[in-house]
Every structure is written in structure tokens, then in C-alpha cells.
């Protein structure tokens, strides 16, 4: 305890010195990352004297911007670090730039940064049982440490969360020994501090993202949208952003904000879109021509969806992404710098062009009755996209995404809001073998559906979960019930429930439905920057 007090005192003293020296916040902000480390972190960490790893512990880890932010926040909350918001921002930037992860190292793991809900992970059983019983696997896999650093992380758990080795899944084995002597060396190997990917990425010249972009995406409340995004560089890696476009139904989408790029590609935007505060977690491609990721509501991160923005000429989406043999329908082609003749592939004709600009073309298209079932490449002028449009004979099956999901009760005067969940129906044709559910099924894309709920099993039916757990609307958005014990329920339980979500898709005279599992549970009381 004395140690902690001492730390705080010294940290405060540090601040005092700064103040006495007459440094205004703006000047403090200008301090470079390394001097912030020296001023703020070396109260406890040490200068090793080794130029390749100058700061004890800090220099032997690489993390995402969110990872560094979480670390510094923990140092503030639990170790008494005193650091101004400006310095903290500067330090996160410095550490993420100099000790970040290469794009290749975040591949397949970005969902956790993007706050994508209901992702089912699969990791090595050793990691799964040791780490992933509490954390997302991505949280581990988005860090790079030396083996010793991974070992210190195991030690950290015994100090910070000492009951971790008594949890279910830990108490039935020599958890600490396994974590220290099996898992840490494995992590040191699988997620090593020094990697070729990182060396290569450090050598890459990072491109400015300044320019006019076309963005396509999906937001659960209003659906598919297209927008022109103008990105203006204000300062090194700092941008202002405007977004102007429309949803598929013609409703305008409009917003503006700012963004910072970390590690040369990690775009973090904060925008107000149609009056709602939103975040963008995007990754820039190495050539600086594509930004891809997720945009979500700041106060309700479930409510968001995938977005892609392109700077060069490119086709990003066609909506809907399917056309039936013999059908005539309206299709919207989205992208950037789209000029020239439109080709929708063999057997699909453009009958007329309804509206057209460089980012968005609306056409009436017709598929011939004999058009071959299968996917088509789309071309506009010299720009093309592979397998974007599906020509099909009949709808054979439907899948609901996500297949497993969680929603959480909330509100009702409590400080934690409800956590919703939302669903989409994906249609498939049977493919050449005529059998649905086989490898050659043709994915048609997202289809409109009617949504309903039913009890998942006999316990849910007996407990009447359907009455309490929440409701689903015609957009497929599930809103859970109010938080808190409910005296109407058995043992005054919360409005939790075990439900099946049913999506029913109409295709001509045919109706096909599919199901998905929804567990409505209690609030998440501990929220992490990286779950």
C-alpha cells in the first residue's frame, strides 16, 4: 500500500513540475510519446539502458490502439498513474504507431475491435481453456509479446485476478503451471514480439487517406446505404470527414466528424450521422485505396454494420444481389467512379437506367428464363467485381445470421441500457445438384424476411420466456425486456429468456423459413475496450 501511495505522490509531483514549468496543455500535447513515457511511466517502469527495448515491460509488447488505451486506463485506475487526456491520446498514438500490429497480424481478428456482436470463435484448445473461458480469443491474438512478457502476463493474473485459478475450468487442473509453462511459451511462439509481418509493415510507406471516397454499408435500423465520404487531412494522421448519401429507400444519410489513423492503417472515426453519434473502426488497405470495417452507434455498439469505402474506381455492392430466371427487377450498383457500359453477366440484361451518377446506378434488369443458374461478374466500364450477382431458379433454403446470439436486458432506471440483437435472412438456391444444404448451394444474399419469436425449448415454454424476454420488429431487430427482478416470474427472475428467432422469406409463391437461437440474459456489468 505504501508503494502505491508513493507512486501516486511521485506521479503527482511529476504533474506539479510540469505545471511549475508553466507548460500549457497545448504544449503538453506536443510532447512526443517517448518523453511522455519518461515523465509518466518511469515512475514505476525502468529505463533498461538497452536501446532496442528501452523501457521495462512496455518495450516488449505490441498492441492495437484499443489495447494500448486499455493498458494506460488500467494504469490510471489501478496503479495511480496521473496523465492528462491530451498526453494519454498522444501516448496511445505513439505506442500504436511504434508498437502496433501489422495489418496481416489483425486479419481475421478485427471483429473484436469492430465490436461486432455474436461472433463464434474457435481457437486452439489450450488457449480456449486457459484464456478464452474469460476473454475473447481475439483479445489474446491481437497482442504480441516476448515469451517472458507472456509469462509476466500470467503472473499479472495471479496478482490482479487471484481467484482466476479457482474458476470452473481452472480449479480442476494445475491452472497456473499450465498457463505459465505451456500457454505462455506457446503464445511467445504463436504471437511473438518480433515478426516478419511487423518488420515489413514498418518499412511500408503509409499513404494519406485524403480524398473523395464512395462508401457502401448496412445499418440495421435503415438498411443498405451508399454515401460519398470526403476525407480531409488536417494534420499527420488526423482527418476531418463528411458523409453524404442515401439509404436504399431514398432516405438521406448525412454526417460529419473526425478520425485518427493509428499504425498507418487503423482508422478510428467519430461521426455524428443523422444526429446519432457513431464510430468507425476501419482498416485502410496497404495501397490506401480501400477502407473496410464496421460503423456503429457509440452508445449502442450492436447497432451497426459492415462498411466499405473505395477511393479508386470500384464496385462495392449490388442490391439486391440476386435475380430469378425470367425476373425483371430494380438493381442498385454501388461503387466509385463508375462510368461506361453496364454488364450484369450472361443472361442478364439492363433494360433501362433509372438513375445514375459515379457512385450509384439504378437499373431495371431482366434475367432470361434460360439464364444459367450461378453467380455473375458485374462490370461498369472497365471496373468489375467478381461473383456479385446471383441468378437463380428458386429459393431452396434460408439461413438466419447470426445463428447464435445474445441480447441483454437493461434500462428500467438502471445505468446499463438494453443490448439489442438483430438478424438478417440469407437465401440460397440448391445449385447444380438440386439439393439444398450441399456444398454447391448458391448464395443469393440477404433477403427481406418476416420476423417472429418462439420459445427455444420446453423450459423456456414453461417459464413463459416469450412473454417477458422481449420483442422483435419487422426489421429483425430484437429489443429485450427491462432489467431487474420481475416478481411475476419464478424466483423473481429477470426478464431473461431462451428464444428461437424465426425469419420467413417469401419468394414468389414460395415461403421458406429458418431459425436462429437467441439467449436473452442479464446486463454485462464489466465492459472492456476489447472484450
Amino acid at each position: 500500500m505504501a508503494l502505491k501511495k508513493n507512486k501516486i505522490t511521485r506521479a503527482l509531483l511529476g504533474t506539479g513540475v510540469l505545471t511549475l514549468a508553466g507548460l500549457a496543455p497545448a504544449q503538453a500535447q506536443a510532447a512526443d510519446g517517448e518523453s511522455i513515457i519518461r515523465d509518466r511511466c518511469l515512475v514505476c517502469h525502468t529505463d533498461t539502458g538497452d536501446a532496442s527495448a528501452p523501457f521495462s515491460r512496455i518495450s516488449e509488447q505490441r498492441k492495437t490502439p484499443e489495447g494500448w488505451m486499455a493498458t494506460i486506463s488500467r494504469m490510471q485506475q489501478q496503479r495511480g498513474v496521473v496523465i492528462s487526456p491530451e498526453e494519454k491520446r498522444e501516448l496511445v498514438k505513439y505506442l500504436a504507431d511504434n508498437q502496433g500490429l501489422a495489418p496481416a497480424e489483425t486479419q481475421g481478428l478485427r471483429y473484436v475491435l469492430e465490436k461486432e456482436p455474436n461472433v463464434l470463435e474457435s481457437f486452439d484448445p489450450l488457449l480456449q481453456e486457459t484464456c478464452v473461458r474469460c476473454h475473447s480469443g481475439a483479445r489474446i491474438a491481437l497482442q504480441r509479446r516476448t515469451e517472458d512478457e507472456w509469462k509476466w502476463l500470467v503472473h499479472f493474473h495471479m496478482g490482479q485476478q487471484p481467484t482466476a485459478e479457482l474458476h470452473a475450468g481452472a480449479r480442476d487442473r494445475a491452472w497456473f503451471d499450465i498457463a505459465l509453462n505451456q500457454v505462455a511459451p506457446k503464445l511467445g511462439n504463436d504471437y511473438a514480439f518480433n515478426t516478419e509481418e511487423w518488420s515489413q509493415w514498418q518499412a511500408v510507406e503509409k499513404k494519406s487517406l485524403d480524398g473523395r471516397w464512395a462508401m457502401s454499408g448496412y445499418l440495421p435500423e435503415k438498411g443498405q446505404f451508399d454515401a460519398v465520404v470526403v476525407i480531409s487531412q488536417n494534420d499527420n494522421d488526423r482527418y476531418s470527414v463528411t458523409l453524404e448519401g442515401q439509404y436504399a429507400d431514398g432516405t438521406p444519410i448525412s454526417g460529419s466528424g473526425k478520425a485518427i489513423v493509428y499504425t498507418g492503417y487503423e482508422w478510428r472515426g467519430t461521426l455524428t450521422v443523422n444526429g446519432v453519434k457513431m464510430r468507425q473502426v476501419l482498416a485502410a488497405s496497404e495501397d490506401g485505396q480501400t477502407l473496410e470495417g464496421r460503423m456503429y452507434q457509440r452508445n449502442d455498439d450492436v447497432m451497426g454494420g459492415k462498411v466499405i469505402a473505395v477511393k479508386n474506381s470500384a464496385i462495392t455492392a449490388i442490391t439486391p444481389s440476386y435475380i430469378k430466371q425470367g425476373e425483371r427487377k430494380l438493381l442498385t450498383i454501388s461503387g466509385n467512379k463508375l462510368n461506361g457500359s453496364i454488364s450484369l453477366g450472361a443472361g442478364v440484361k439492363v433494360i433501362s437506367i433509372i438513375a445514375r451518377d459515379e457512385e450509384r446506378t439504378v437499373v431495371i434488369a431482366e434475367a432470361s428464363r434460360t439464364a444459367k443458374v450461378g453467380s455473375r461478374d458485374i462490370k461498369v466500364g472497365r471496373t468489375s467485381a467478381d461473383d456479385l450477382l446471383a441468378v437463380y431458379d428458386e429459393l431452396a433454403r434460408v439461413e438466419i445470421t447470426p445463428s447464435d446470439s445474445i441480447a441483454r436486458v437493461g434500462g428500467a432506471g438502471g445505468s446499463i441500457p438494453k443490448q439489442k440483437s438483430w438478424y438478417r435472412a440469407v437465401g440460397y438456391a440448391a445449385g447444380a445438384d438440386g439439393k439444398p444444404g450441399t456444398a454447391d448451394d448458391l448464395r443469393l444474399g440477404y433477403m427481406p424476411a418476416q420476423w417472429s419469436l418462439k420459445p427455444f425449448d420446453e423450459i423456456a415454454e414453461h417459464d413463459n420466456d416469450i412473454q417477458y424476454a422481449g420483442t422483435i420488429d419487422n426489421r429483425g431487430i430484437f429489443t429485450p425486456g427491462d432489467a431487474g427482478p420481475n416478481p411475476e416470474r419464478k424466483m423473481s427472475t429477470n426478464n431473461v429468456g431462451n428464444l428461437t428467432v424465426i425469419g420467413m422469406v417469401q419468394d414468389g409463391d414460395q415461403t421458406i423459413s429458418a431459425e436462429s437461437h437467441l439467449l436473452v440474459t442479464v446486463q454485462r456489468f464489466v465492459r472492456a475496450l476489447i472484450d
Partner: protein
């Protein structure tokens, strides 16, 4: 190989248990709303010295924010509430053999205060952490049969300026006459993951960890009582046990009891259709050292612990969402009673006439062991959370 199916098994088993709970519940809540006005701290304040010796029995528990309560098992009223210094940890209690001193683990599992339960006077204290070493004990506290020593299992972690360093756990021996701010007189290295401990009449301390061991607190000599995690049963026949060793108890009959969950594969390993999901337990007679290990009770009930019927040691009671009664010998379920909320903890009087359930809320529910019907209900001033419920027999 064996770990993975165990999880899915466990989940399945819990689902089955939940289903049993539903079907067994019946019209459970109707009678519970009309709870007794019960309890009252008023009583506690108006009866500051109303305690009896000669084997009179008191049930002790801890509530948030941090108070030790003394419940008279004759009147089922809170007789006295003692403020415990520091932040609530998990509410562990150990009681001296004369029933007079209750040692309470507090300060986020780090500090211990010994209270004279007749007047709330603090007669003993220790802060286990020292220098830059953070020392926590998980549940583990026991008093020697002669009352002269208090044992804890310490889990130390050294806090260097920029890192934690995990240290070897150890048995710490305190002199109970050490007074305030006392420190261990001896320490001996022990295994990790030890929670429940108990002192045997022969002087040894039972260490409830991955395996059950006994340590001689004079010289640190340790012997295996019975292997659990490292048992030598064929892995294709048995899943190694998972013991959720929360709450030490058994003082009303002088025993230590450790329940565990296991699966017996009667067909291929992983074939649930042919498997038995079982509660097992190790029960140690603290007087004789006799050990019983048996798996009979079907895993259809979630319990945090068993409490033995003093009048028939084959009969045990467990609580969680229901209070249930079982025969260890036959595996037979003798009774189920739905509860109004979850109760983590359970205990009994030495005459076997009352079962108390507590924890996970702010009510203590008292039941007739014969019928399992509720015979008393006590509202406590705060949440008991994971706290112990222990019996002090005041001499």
C-alpha cells in the same frame, strides 16, 4: 481429451437440473410472499448480553457492507451484529472450539479479525499482506482443536514496481493469543488452489485443493489423504472430479466434507447416453481421521455443499435453487423443497432439528429437516453474497 466432453456434459447436466427444478417446483412461490416480519436489529440492540453458554448454539454469517451477525438458533433472531473492519471479501468465518471467537476474513481476502461473539470485541487481528507482498486467502481458515492456533492458506504475490511475481502458497500458523496486528509464527509451503481447510483432532490440517492432503502445522509434513484431480481411475471410465470447494462446514458433526462432480462412462468415453453424471464427496471425520469417498447422488441438483444430518450420517442436505435431501448410501433423493431465491449456503444445528439456508441474498430461511418445510425466515440487514454460515456452539 477428457476435459472437453466434461464441459459439455456439465452444461447438459445443468440443463437437466434446471428442468428438474422447473418440474419439481410446483406452485412454489405462493406461500413465500407472506414472510415473517422476522429478524430485526432492534432485537440485537436490545439484547446485548443475552447469550447463553453450556452448548447453546448460534448461527453466524456476514453481510455486506461488512458485518458479522450472531443468530440465536433458539429464537432465530439476530442477537448481535459486529462491524467488521475493511472491505467485504467473501465473508469467510472460522470459529474457535469454545464457540466464543469468530475469525472473519475481510479486506478483500487479506485481513482477519477475531471477534468475541458475546460482545463484538476484536480480540485478534492480522493483515496478511506485508511490504510489497499481497497476500490473499481464499476461504481457507481453521482453528486448531485446542483453540491455540489459527491456520490460513496464504496466496502471496510480490508486487514489484512494474510487475507481479506469483509466489508459492503456504500454510500460515497464527497464535490465537497473539492479539491485534499479529503475524504468523510459522509458515510451510503448500499446493496452489487450496480453499477449504479444517483442523483435525490429531493436530493436522486438512487442505482442500486439487487433491485432499493433510499437513502437520508443527513441521510442514504433508501427506495425501485422497487424490481427486490426480486420482488413478481409468480416464476412459471416469472424468476427473471438479470440486467447487466454497464454504467450509461440518462443525456440527465434526467433519470436513468436499463434494465434487464427475462422470462415469459406462460406454465409450463421451457417450452421454450411457454415462452417469454423479455427485461424489470426500468426507473426513476430524476426530478419527476416517475418510469416506463415494459417488452415488445423481447430478440432478446444483448444490454448493452438503450438510450431514447428525442423526443419520447417510442423510445429507444441499441447497441452491431448491433445498434437497439425499441418502449418500443409496443415492436416493429423499425430498425436494423449492426456495424463493438462490441460497448458496447451508448448515444445521447439532441436534439435527433445523436446517438453515443462507447466502446469495439477504434472507436466511429455516427448514424442518423431516419435511423440508420452512419453519422460519429471517431478513438480514444486507446481502450475504458468498458468506459463510457457521455454527458456534458456545461453551
Amino acid at each position: 481429451m477428457m476435459k472437453k466432453p466434461m464441459f459439455s456434459k456439465l452444461t447438459g447436466a445443468i440443463r437437466n437440473t434446471a428442468l428438474t427444478a422447473v418440474i419439481g417446483a410446483g406452485a412454489l412461490l405462493t406461500g413465500c410472499a407472506a414472510t415473517q416480519p422476522g429478524s430485526n436489529q432492534q432485537g440485537a440492540e436490545s439484547l446485548p448480553n443475552g447469550m447463553k453458554g453450556d452448548g447453546h448454539e448460534y448461527m453466524l454469517t456476514v453481510t455486506r457492507p461488512n458485518q458479522l451477525h450472531v443468530i440465536d438458533t433458539e429464537t432465530d433472531q439476530v442477537l448481535r451484529s459486529c462491524d467488521v473492519p475493511g472491505t467485504f471479501g467473501n465473508g469467510s468465518i472460522a470459529i474457535s472450539p469454545d464457540g466464543r471467537t469468530a475469525y472473519v476474513l475481510t479486506g478483500m481476502y487479506e485481513n482477519i479479525y477475531g471477534f468475541d461473539i458475546t460482545n463484538c470485541e476484536i480480540t485478534f487481528s492480522t493483515h496478511q499482506s506485508y511490504d510489497n507482498v499481497q497476500v490473499k486467502s481464499f476461504i481457507s481458515m481453521a482453528v486448531s482443536a485446542d483453540g491455540k492456533e489459527l491456520y490460513t492458506v496464504q496466496n502471496p504475490v510480490r508486487k514489484h514496481s512494474d510487475r507481479f511475481e506469483t509466489m508459492q502458497p503456504r500454510l500460515a500458523v497464527f497464535d490465537t493469543s497473539g492479539g491485534l496486528k499479529t503475524q504468523p509464527v510459522r509458515t510451510f509451503p503448500v499446493d496452489r488452489r487450496i480453499t477449504k481447510i479444517a483442523a483435525m483432532d490429531n493436530g493436522e490440517v486438512v487442505l482442500g485443493g486439487g487433491d485432499l492432503k493433510a499437513i502437520n502445522p508443527e513441521n510442514g509434513e504433508t501427506r495425501l489423504i485422497t487424490a481427486l484431480q490426480n486420482w488413478d481411475r481409468a480416464p476412459d471410465k471416469w472424468v476427473p472430479p471438479d470440486a467447487f470447494a466454497m464454504h467450509t462446514m461440518g462443525e456440527h458433526v465434526g467433519e470436513f466434507i468436499m463434494p465434487y462432480f464427475t462422470i462415469r462412462w459406462n460406454g465409450e468415453p463421451g457417450d452421454e447416453s450411457k454415462a452417469d453424471f454423479l455427485w461424489g464427496h470426500v468426507r473426513i471425520d476430524l476426530k478419527t481421521g476416517d475418510v469416506e469417498m463415494i459417488e452415488t447422488v445423481p447430478f440432478e441438483f446444483i448444490v454448493f455443499n452438503w450438510v450431514t444430518d447428525p442423526n443419520d450420517k447417510n442423510v445429507v442436505y444441499g441447497s441452491f435453487n431448491q433445498l434437497s435431501k439425499h441418502n449418500f448410501k443409496t443415492g436416493e433423493t429423499l425430498g425436494i423443497h423449492a426456495l424463493d431465491h438462490t441460497y448458496y449456503n447451508i448448515n444445521m444445528t447439532t441436534d439435527g432439528k433445523k436446517v438453515y439456508v443462507a447466502g446469495a441474498g439477504n434472507t436466511v430461511s429455516i427448514h424442518n429437516p423431516e419435511t423440508l418445510e420452512r419453519i422460519g425466515y429471517l431478513k438480514m440487514p444486507g446481502d450475504m453474497s458468498t458468506s459463510d454460515l457457521r455454527l458456534a456452539v458456545l461453551k
